[in-house]
Symmetry: C2
Subunit: 141 residues, 2 copies
DNA sequence: GGCGATATGTTATTTAGTTACATCCGCGCT
DNA sequence: AGCGCGGATGTAACTAAATAACATATCGCC
């Protein structure tokens, strides 16, 4: 690998490492959330062999808000909206039928949680909001 | 064990099985959340030997709202308020310094999430709200 | 060129949760 | 009493998720 990884066809940010691009690419092409081991399986042909390689990439990607971790699934999704980190806390609606995840931002919810935190003397650094249920499409079907 | 387990000194509900009582008791006495394996370690002297015994008890307890799972910790806490299941969705504030978890109910948050769900055609069955941060006590110290 | 920070590769290990299967116990029924 | 059923238990083996430890390579920069 003397050749730089730059020049790939799907570029979200120009300074991703090769592994980070691979992982983000896999997430972007996936229909739903993928676990670290799902990712590993899909990327074995691209040279990834150990869980740590995936976890390291995921750490960086989630840090930068390019991917999100779904806690209740131990899985990850590609960020749906490049501007989401500007929008404070994010929520996820997870369909238990089709497995798809919808990402949403509700400033009102965020504000309410902030209000509670202030009142309780709590200083939040990370917020997790996850809804499990059935999405509209599956409801109709 | 011909003798019924009823008559224990800490009774939350009269129809818990022995294993369920053991697990709930351990959670109740703990300072913070416990993982299934933490519970297993603490209950080995009481006869629990396999993870499954703990997981089965936890399933029943969480179903009934007597215990809660903290998704972002893969751990469990005793329900702080017997009436919490009446109060719709619950949130948790998790202190990353002392590890303690505070349970709270914010009807306003619940309503906002309901509003978003309706608008999005999503039917939620379970809601997870978890704040990571620093609690008031740790802030002061 | 040399140096420090960061990224990688690899093996082994720990922690979390499930599958499969046998047994046991309480309880209603005849 | 004896039968049968559903739920709870016990145990072993296994899959899945995440991390520890250590060696190597690469990049940016002075």
């Amino acid at each position: 690998m003397t050749r730089s990884h730059k020049g790939h066809d799907h570029v979200w940010a120009d300074d991703l490492t090769r592994n980070q691009e691979l992982v983000l690419g896999a997430l972007a092409h996936a229909e739903g959330p993928l676990s670290a081991y799902d990712l590993l399986d899909r990327l074995r042909d691209d040279g990834l062999r150990a869980p740590l390689q995936v976890y390291r990439a995921l750490d960086k990607l989630t840090e930068r808000g390019l991917a999100h971790r779904i806690e209740s699934l131990n899985a990850f999704v590609c960020c749906a909206d490049a501007r989401c980190h500007a929008a404070g806390s994010i929520g996820f609606a997870i369909c238990e039928r089709c497995g798809r995840v919808e990402e949403f931002a509700e400033p009102a919810v965020e504000q309410q949680l902030q209000r509670w935190s202030r009142q309780a003397g709590f200083t939040p650094t990370r917020v997790t909001i996850e809804l499990r249920g059935v999405c509209g499409a599956c409801q109709a079907a």
